[in-house]
Structure formats: C-alpha cells, structure tokens
Amino acid sequence: MADNTKAAEERVLMKGNEVLAEAAMRAGCRFFFGYPITPQTELAAYMAKRLPKIGGTFLQAESEVAAINMVYGAGAAGARVMTSSSSPGVSLKSEGASYMAGADVPGVIVNVMRGGPGLGGIQPSQSDYFQATRALGHGDYFMPVLAPSTVQEMADLIYLAFDLADEYRTPTMILADGMIGQMMEPVSLPPARDPKTLPTKPWATAGHKGERAHNVINSLYLSPEKLEDTNRERFERYEKIRATQQRQELMMCDDAEIVVVAFGAASRIARTAVRDARAKGIKAGLLRPITLWPYPTDAIDKVIDNGAKRFLSVELNMGQMVEDVRLAVAGRASVDFYGRTGGVLPTPEEVLAQIEALAEGRPVAPSAGGSATGSVLPAPIDRKSSYERGE
C-alpha cells in the first residue's frame, strides 16, 4: 500500500498508467513502441511527451503486431525497451512475445486489462490471467508476470521487471488492470538510472566492431535436438526464477483459517473485506500474489502449515487463478472461488458475504448474478464448498 512514512514532499500524486511510463524511463527504458487503447492510453501519451526529451525514442506503431516486433528488434540490440496495451491489443502481440522468448530477448510488455473476450469492454478485468501465466503465445515458454495492486507498485514492479528481463533474458509482463491504471495515488518514484551504467549485454546484436564473432538472435531451430537443448536450457532458467523470484504480500495470515487469495484490483476489494471480516471476529487473512508467474506456492504452503483450512480465490473473471491456488494447495485445504466479470467489480460486502459463508460452513456462490434474470452458469461440481462435499 502507499507508504505514508515518506516525507510528503517526496511523494507525488499520479495516475497508475503515467507512473508505469515514468518509472520505466527511470529504470533506463529509452525505447517505447505502442498503439493506443483504453484503458492504458495515458501510458503511451506520457511516453510520447517525455521520452524524446531524455534522448529516447517513442514510436506509435501502425499496429500492435508492428510494435511488439519493434520491441523484439530493440531488445535484440540490447536496449531497455517496452510496449503496452490492453487485452485485445495484447493478443495481437502474442506472436512477437513468443519470438522474443524463443530468441531469449528481454523486454517489458504491459497489459492494463479490460473485460473480454473479443473487444469485450473497457472496464477493469483480470480475464487475461491464463493468457499471461500460461504463455502469451505459442510454444514451450513462460515469462515473469508481475501484478501491481497500488500506484506505488506500478513504479516498483516495472523497475523490477526491467531487471528480471535482463537478468534472465526473457520478456517480462506487468499485468495491471483498468482500476490501477486509471487511479491516482501518492507515489515515491525510484531513482533515475543512466542506461550507460546498466550491465552490458555481450550477446546483443549491437555491432562487433571486428572484435568478436558476430552474434545471432534467432528463434528458428530446424534441428529438433538443438531446439530441445535450447528449451531445456531455458527451463533451467525458469527453475531459477521459480526458486528465487516468488513474491507475495501477506496480510493477517499468521493465525488465519480462511485465506482470501487475490491480486491487483481484486486484492484491493478483498483487503477491505478481510478487514471487515476480522472486525466480525472471523480469522481471515489475505494472500496477495505479486508474482503471478512464478506463482507464490511457497507462501501458500506456509499459510497451510500455519493452520489455513479454507482458501477463497477472488478474481475479476470467471475463475482462472483459482486453478493455480488448487495446484499449490494440492488437496490440503478447501478451495473456493468468487468472481465478477465483464468489467463488473464486486463490492467488499459481496466478498465479505462469501467469507462469512465459509466461516459458517455454507456454500460459496461462485459469482453474484448481475443480469436481470439473475442467473449465472451452474457451479461445476468441483467449485462446491468442501462442506457440501462432506470433507
């Protein structure tokens, strides 16, 4: 959450989207390629104004496909580079992201999510969780996915994203949403880094000046054995990321029996609901994944060890991250889901009602009916509360 221990004069009030842009420049990003789409447009607009002034290049590409391929090119040449879009636009970038992963080219991709599928809507959503965490494009790959829940984290995590991208030679995603992108909160901006002071990239195709053999950046391997080798090597890096980069915030989890798991915008709503549940004497806590890939499974293990018996995944979708919660919980506790979709946000009261249901052993509704008919899809059997299954 916003840190109000910092002196007031160090803090500025900014929109989340603008903070992503400002903090990226401070992290040494000097190239931005994008295409406008609500609700992330302020990011590109800010870059257009400021990036040329610090010697960078802002380019509004002719399409999202072009933009991601420009990112591929600049990243291959060793630059800190990013692109940003919102859900439908991010789908268009999927081929380029896969090429970057296949060629081990670092770069930062921002998705300020809106409702889907298709053109969907423009209100906040988290329905691209699967797309982000199960690989944005085709092929055998993952990428680090960071999920900010405050404007301050927009700054902190995009700063981190550039470092992770370079360290592990991988595209890295910031998975934000319309709420965090559009809102203003106080933020302490990170210090500006001169790109010249960043670690060098001996693999980059930035000219060999006759001093070394030429570098090749490529994602095409026609020999199956060679392709298998490169994939295995990449997955060794993924194991390192899994082992060292899991991040999460725990709130009131020390003695929690009911743990709400939520990221980004949903975690803001869940935070209020968990506080309200505590005020009613319910031992509830919040586990907020900051990295969605790697998923913070170690933290889930720990809260189970501490006595958590019931998990409730709260998301702005029809139930996506809940699958990762189930994988991490591995049958040691019950897992339920509550979500709203299409850009509808649950109220803290709705989430609180689900926590109360769990506390009293009643079944959790997977979603409140928002339509006139009040009907939602019938809950699949495995979404029933553990109590209903007699566990």
Partner: protein
C-alpha cells in the same frame, strides 16, 4: 497530526462532464498528499464520462485504502439530478451531501436517503455566474463540503488548491480562492 479534522473521508463527486468534479476531486486528493495521508482518486472512464454522472471517488484516510471505488460514501457532491439520484441513496447514515440545485432542481426530494444524512442544496452555478466566477461552481461546492466535514485543515486546503492550478493558468488562482471562500461562508 492535528485533531481538528476528520480522519476518514470517502467522497464521490459527480455531475456532467465539464463541471469540474474531477478537478475538485484532485484538490481534495492533494490535501491528503500534502498531509502525508493515504489517498486514492479514482475516476469513472469511458461512456460514463460523456453522460450524466461523470464522477470520481476520493478516499482520504489514515489507514491504507482498500478499494478505491467507493460504494458507501461518507460525503457526496452532486452537481446534477442524475448524480443526486445515483449516489444519494449510497451515502452512509450521518453522511454529508452537497447539491448544486441550479441543475439538480429537485434537490434530494424523493431520493431515498439514509437516516441523518445532512443535505446542503444551493444554486452554486448561479451563484458563481453572478459573482463573475463562471465555471467555478465546483469549487464553491468543495468549499461547502469542507466547511461541513473538515476533511483537512484550512491551511492544507488552501495549499492544495494553489498546487492544482497549473502555472500556465495562474490568473485563475484568485477566482478559485474566491469561489472556495464563497462556499465556506455559505
């Protein structure tokens, strides 16, 4: 922190696009920034901004803020009738509602308000125009809300207003100050 102001304000500011509610909300948010408090400012975006209830939610608190979308405001500024009707019923008991009755001619009449909601309805747009402060009805309403809720100290309020008027529009600072005072004196 001084004890002479309210420690939590959850305010929705709503009206037609162009009435300056987002700006008034920014002034409010900046008071929290200046005082080192927790603050969030969340605008509506998309088609709502072109319709009757362009709004923003401003939370000022000594505690970390959960959802920035306010479902149970402690205060509302409503500058047109759709805003009164949409947000009036959401105000918590004992909350405050400031209505510009130039456009919201029916005020809170017929709106289902919680017990003890204090309603202050006055013709802010008309007053602003008569005082030569066209376009500053938003700030008059802000002044009235501050006078009723004391969401920060007066010094902080003045400093936040000065901070929000951009350097290129310094000639508008004095009229803004006048409008603020007008609302406070109501």
């Amino acid at each position: 922190m001084a004890e002479d102001f309210n420690h939590e304000l959850l305010c929705v500011l709503s009206g037609f696009g162009g009435q300056g509610l987002l700006f008034a909300g920014k002034v409010m948010a900046n008071t929290g920034l200046l005082d080192g408090r927790h603050v969030s400012w969340m605008p509506s975006y998309g088609p709502e901004m072109r319709g009757g209830t362009a709004n923003c939610s401003v939370s000022l608190s000594d505690e970390a803020i959960g959802t920035p979308f306010i479902t149970k405001p402690t205060a509302v500024i409503a500058m047109n009738q759709p805003s009164v009707e949409k947000f009036g019923p959401t105000i918590v008991s004992g909350g405050t509602m400031v209505i510009d009755s130039t456009l919201a001619m029916n005020g809170a009449e017929g709106v289902d308000l919680a017990d003890g909601v204090n309603v202050f309805a006055f013709k802010a747009t008309e007053m602003a125009e008569e005082a030569g402060l066209k376009g500053l009805a938003n700030i008059i309403c802000l002044g009235k809300l501050w006078a009723e809720t004391h969401f920060c100290t007066r010094e902080t309020l003045d400093a936040a207003l000065a901070k929000c008027v951009p350097p290129s529009k310094q000639h508008l600072l004095e009229p803004n100050r006048k409008a603020l005072q007008m609302g406070i004196d109501l």
